[in-house]
């Protein structure tokens, strides 16, 4: 049940990361056009919110609030470590 919020969290943070020019340059070699960057950021924030809301729905208010924090931390950590690994192998 908590799997969906976890996935949403990872995807959301991945998009937020892609919406940052420094990481665009690391991963693609260049900055992306402004429109795409904005879209990535918007979609990223949306998914991160969905991840937290999903935790609340899946586990109730109290437990869900705590799960939500854990889910967001997990997603951010996965993206951060992946981005590091990817930019090193370039």
């Amino acid at each position: 049940m908590i799997a969906l919020p976890l996935v949403a969290s990872v995807l959301g943070f991945a998009l937020l990361c892609l919406g940052m020019s420094r990481h665009q340059r690391d991963l693609f070699g260049r900055s992306l056009p402004a429109g795409r960057t904005r879209a990535a950021k918007a979609a990223g924030w949306l998914l991160v919110t969905v991840a937290y809301a999903g935790s609340l729905l899946a586990e109730g208010a109290a437990l869900g609030a705590v799960y939500g924090v854990g889910v967001l931390t997990f997603g951010a950590a996965v993206v951060a470590l992946t981005v590091t690994g990817l930019s090193r192998s370039r």
Partner: protein, 521 residues
């Protein structure tokens, strides 16, 4: 505004550094033991490989009462700690008339699911590491709690000042650059701190709250004539029962548990306290298992021991009390099911890494500013040696503790105490190496010893018990498999760190080589 070191950000950076540095090594121990405490039940099970079977709280409770009635019928009080969701054995304590509360710690026995004393190697299990988290060791408990509280307050200030100082908190959110020396340590420190920031803030604040009546008794002093009045208000005002002298066998404990579970919506009891067992005035107190609600002090229920009749329910808690007990529950995380428990563990590990990388970062940065790297000033030497002893030494201490559990003779005197001594002997060895060897060699030695010790654990497990990694995999025994795999992962982490350090040419060697080349020319 001009603070202690210039503008606001520089002042907060200064405060952050000093707040972290002064208590960093103790904080590392507190974080490391706290991290392990999230799996203390599993650690206890691993450290008692002789105990098998399933968890049955009601049967365990009734079996415990049978044993206690047979062996300690005249005790003033009995206490039964039932197995939580992740444990199997129960522990019983008893106190004779005239003994004080601390005697219960000596009058204790472990019983299995049927109430039979367990034949298992004497050990404190995961409880030693858990208690060290706030009681430290080799010192009076109250001193330790003050020291830990002091560290926690410094930690809180370090977090706040760290957030104020880290202006680029979002720009650097995903950045971790390897192989860039001081910059890499800073990135690692920032990442482990920021990614789990809500957890770090929560755990530090709730940690202080957990011992708040010790640290801040002034509200009680200002509003109540004495502490007893406050505790009566806060935790229920039933005065302890007085011995009637009339014997009365205890009513069915199973029946009382069933009543309690109805009130608790199905949750299990975690702890049972029986005052004056066998007497007509005996009182049974059932505490709800921590594994079932975030609120740590939810609804304790009282029963007449002789009749099994439940006392009136306690009044509902007010907002502040509910907040306090929820905060305590959040800190201990006993309510957390497995998925959330692993998230707690990972966040706590991040916190441990945050403290460790912060300490190493300090030397990495200062080393560049040393006028003569071969003759650093005393403060630098102190920090560098303590870093080796603690950042590399603590893991070694953990490994020694677990190795002692497997290797110490089962029948030796004070076995459990010596398992604990093994922890500190390992830590002491690291300190010795750190003081005696040159820093780089010391780092490598302690890291490699730790890696070897952790890697040896599954092997020793396989050789000395029937519950090693391979048999446990075959049996689908998650706890034993998980423990041994975690030990291997820690061995790999320490080994990797040692390897990376070994491959990096030493700064001093580079400089010496340059000087030598210049002298030869």
């Amino acid at each position: 505004m001009n603070g202690v070191n210039g503008g606001l950000r520089q002042s907060m950076a200064w405060l952050h550094t000093w707040a972290g540095l002064l208590v960093g090594w103790l904080l590392l121990a507190i974080f490391a033991t706290g991290t392990s405490a999230y799996f203390q039940d599993e650690i206890t099970r691993w450290m008692q490989p002789e105990i098998t079977g399933v968890r049955q709280p009601t049967r365990a409770a009734e079996g415990a009462v049978t044993w206690l009635t047979a062996h300690q019928p005249d005790a003033d009080s009995w206490s039964i700690a039932l197995p939580g969701q992740r444990a199997i054995a129960s522990t019983v304590y008893w106190r004779q008339a005239g003994e004080d509360r601390s005697a219960a710690r000596d009058n204790t026995l472990t019983l299995d699911g049927n109430g039979q004393p367990v034949v298992s190697r004497p050990t404190l299990g995961g409880a030693f590491l858990y208690r060290m988290h706030f009681d430290l060791h080799y010192m009076p408990v109250i001193w330790a709690r003050w020291v830990v509280g002091f560290c926690a307050m410094f930690m809180l200030v370090a977090i706040v000042s760290g957030v104020i100082t880290h202006k680029k908190i979002f720009a650097d959110f995903f950045t971790l650059r390897f192989g860039k020396g001081q910059r890499s340590w800073l990135d690692a420190h920032n990442l482990s701190a920021v990614l789990a920031l809500p957890f770090h803030l929560m755990i530090t604040f709730t940690g202080l709250v957990t011992l708040q009546s010790l640290y801040m008794p002034w509200g009680v002093a200002a509003a109540y004539p004495n502490k007893a009045a406050y505790f009566a208000d806060a935790f229920g005002s039933e005065s302890p029962p007085v011995r009637s002298g009339e014997p009365a066998p205890m009513a069915s404990l199973g029946g009382m548990i069933a009543q309690a579970r109805k009130v608790w919506g199905g949750a299990q009891p975690g702890f049972i306290d029986i005052a004056l067992p066998g007497d007509r005035h005996g009182v049974v107190r059932l505490f709800r298992s921590g594994g079932d609600a975030m609120d740590a002090r939810e609804k304790t229920l009282l029963f007449d021991a002789a009749t099994g009749h439940m006392h009136p329910l306690p009044a509902a808690k007010g907002g502040a009390s509910a907040t306090e007990s929820t905060m305590v529950g959040l800190h201990a995380g006993r309510y957390a099911p497995y998925a959330l428990r692993w998230l707690y563990f990972l966040c706590s590990l991040a916190g441990t890494l945050m403290v460790a990388t912060g300490l190493v970062l300090w030397t990495a940065k200062r080393r560049l500013q040393l006028p003569d790297p071969d003759r650093p000033h005393l403060g630098f030497v102190l920090v560098e040696r303590l870093n080796i002893a603690t950042v590399a030494g603590l893991p070694l201490a953990f490994a020694c503790h677990f190795l002692a559990n497997r290797l110490l003779p089962v029948r030796m005197d004070d076995r459990a105490t010596w398992e604990v001594h093994a922890f500190f002997i390992g830590w002491g060895a690291a300190l010795l190496i750190a003081c005696v060897q040159r820093p780089r060699r010391a780092w490598l030695a302690v890291l490699m010893l730790g890696a070897a010790a952790f890697a040896a654990l599954p092997v020793v497990d396989e050789l000395t018990t029937e519950r090693g990694l391979l048999p446990s995999l075959a049996r689908g025994d998650g706890v034993f498999v998980g423990f041994d795999l975690t030990m291997l992962a820690l061995a790999a982490a320490l080994g990797t760190a040692a390897w990376k350090l070994y491959r990096r040419p030493a700064g001093a060697r580079r400089k010496h080589a340059a000087i030598a080349a210049g002298a030869d020319a």
